[in-house]
């Protein structure tokens, strides 16, 4: 996890989460239009939110066991801020991705543009999550000492990120085979 623990400027959480909810649907729509099948409309949001929902408890449990977890409420807040960051980033990348996907004749280009947009937004979301978790470790309870980033907490976060990306990547690859076939 990042050693920088200064709080970052925040943004309105509601609209950001709405963007996080709608962005994957829009990416799914781009792929659905190009592949002329409806399944990406459901599959893209399902991959994004399903994987986050399935793996996020594991991060809390692992960091709590190693003594590096902020309170549960702070972890939930960190996840919602990171999801918002994912939504904002995806909203900014949606227009270029749609243009690149729809102006090309090759379905592979559509898939690559969609993958790059979701992948970049996910990477930025993970970076924000790491930062928020470190920030949340500063005086986690009134009077408590700071939870400082350690090699163990960084390793836990790295392994969790790799596992999450691996699972999402596998599901995304299955979707690719359907879209490109």
């Amino acid at each position: 996890m990042s050693a920088i623990a200064e709080p970052l400027p925040s943004y309105p959480r509601g609209p950001a989460l709405a963007l996080a909810a709608l962005g994957p649907v829009a990416i799914g729509a781009i792929m659905a239009v190009r592949a002329e099948i409806a399944s990406p409309l459901i599959a893209v949001p399902a991959v994004v939110f399903g994987v986050v929902a399935a793996t996020s408890p594991a991060l809390y449990i692992a960091t709590a066991v190693t003594g590096a977890a902020p309170p549960l409420g702070a972890v939930v807040r960190a996840f919602s801020v990171a999801l918002g960051a994912f939504g904002i980033a995806l909203a900014g990348l949606l227009l270029p991705a749609a243009f690149l996907a729809l102006s090309s004749t090759d379905p592979l280009m559509t898939f690559l543009a969609a993958t790059a947009a979701v992948g970049a937004a996910a990477f930025l979301g993970l970076r924000r999550l790491a930062h928020e978790l470190v920030s949340a470790g500063k005086e986690p309870y009134p009077g408590a000492t700071d939870i400082k980033p350690s090699l163990t907490s960084s390793t836990v976060f790295f392994v969790w990120s790799a596992a999450t990306i691996g699972i999402a990547g596998r599901l995304w690859w299955d979707l690719a085979k359907e879209v490109l076939s």
Partner: protein
């Protein structure tokens, strides 16, 4: 003495919010214009002036490229090239804002749009300065592929200069997220700009081209086309001849 100076043309400096003064400032003192954008001053005036600058300069560059074929292609290229730059700015600026905002950079879409448009206007001014070279190529009957490669080179230099201006502006900022925002913008800028230019081609046509299309049908990718042009410039052709007139 002062009266004498006035009589020979010494006046107060021109107001820098007027279009010619803004363009002059962009050419001479880019740090000052970047500072104005960072401070959020005159954003509308700057954006408006830079859009008009792009429209005029790129129309001139387009007309120069179109003159290699001549005829209606001069007009077609003069219409399409400004659209490429303005479209690239419109599609890329939200990415700069969004990537930065996701990592905690202050969100300011209007200022980012002004910055991207200003940097593209700078590139467009550099390109219009290259117009005599394009016309020289036509005058000395440079081959079609040599013209293509020199055009790609000129546009690459202008693109790098534009990106450098954005990078310089963002490196003056403090706070998180600017490095990733610049990197993201560079990638989006190159991909979108390249693909938009590719989608709206042709700009440069062989003089013997019989029919001039406003847009070509979409085929292959930009990367395939560049490697094909390099092969052709080296005399390696994949077809027997270029299309001929009746």
């Amino acid at each position: 003495m002062i009266g004498a100076l006035d009589s020979v043309g010494f006046h107060a400096p021109a107001r820098v919010d007027r279009p010619p003064a803004l363009i002059d400032q962009l050419l001479r003192d880019r740090d000052a214009i970047v500072a104005r954008i960072a401070a959020g001053k005159d954003l509308m005036a700057i954006t408006r002036t830079m859009v008009v600058t792009i429209a005029i300069t790129m129309a001139i560059v387009g007309a120069a490229l179109g003159s290699y074929r001549g005829g209606i292609q001069i007009g077609y290229a003069a219409i399409k090239l400004p659209l490429v730059l303005i479209g690239t700015a419109a599609l890329s600026a939200p990415a700069l804002t969004a990537i930065g905002a996701a990592l905690g950079r202050r969100s300011r879409l209007t200022a980012d749009l002004a910055l991207v448009i200003t940097s593209l206007a700078y590139g467009a001014l550099l390109l219009v300065a290259c117009t005599p070279l394009i016309l020289l190529g036509r005058a000395i009957d440079l081959s079609y592929h040599q013209m293509i490669l020199s055009t790609v080179m000129m546009f690459s230099v202008a693109g790098i200069a534009s990106l450098r201006l954005v990078t310089r502006a963002l490196s003056a900022e403090t706070g998180p997220g600017r490095g990733s925002a610049v990197l993201g913008l560079c990638v989006v800028f190159a991909l979108v700009g390249g693909q938009l230019a590719w989608s709206l081609r042709p700009y440069l046509l062989r003089p013997r081209t019989p029919e001039v299309p406003f847009l070509r049908e979409t085929e292959g990718s930009l990367a395939d086309a560049i490697s094909g042009a390099i092969r052709s410039a080296r005399g390696i052709y994949t077809r027997d001849s270029a299309p001929l007139g009746d």
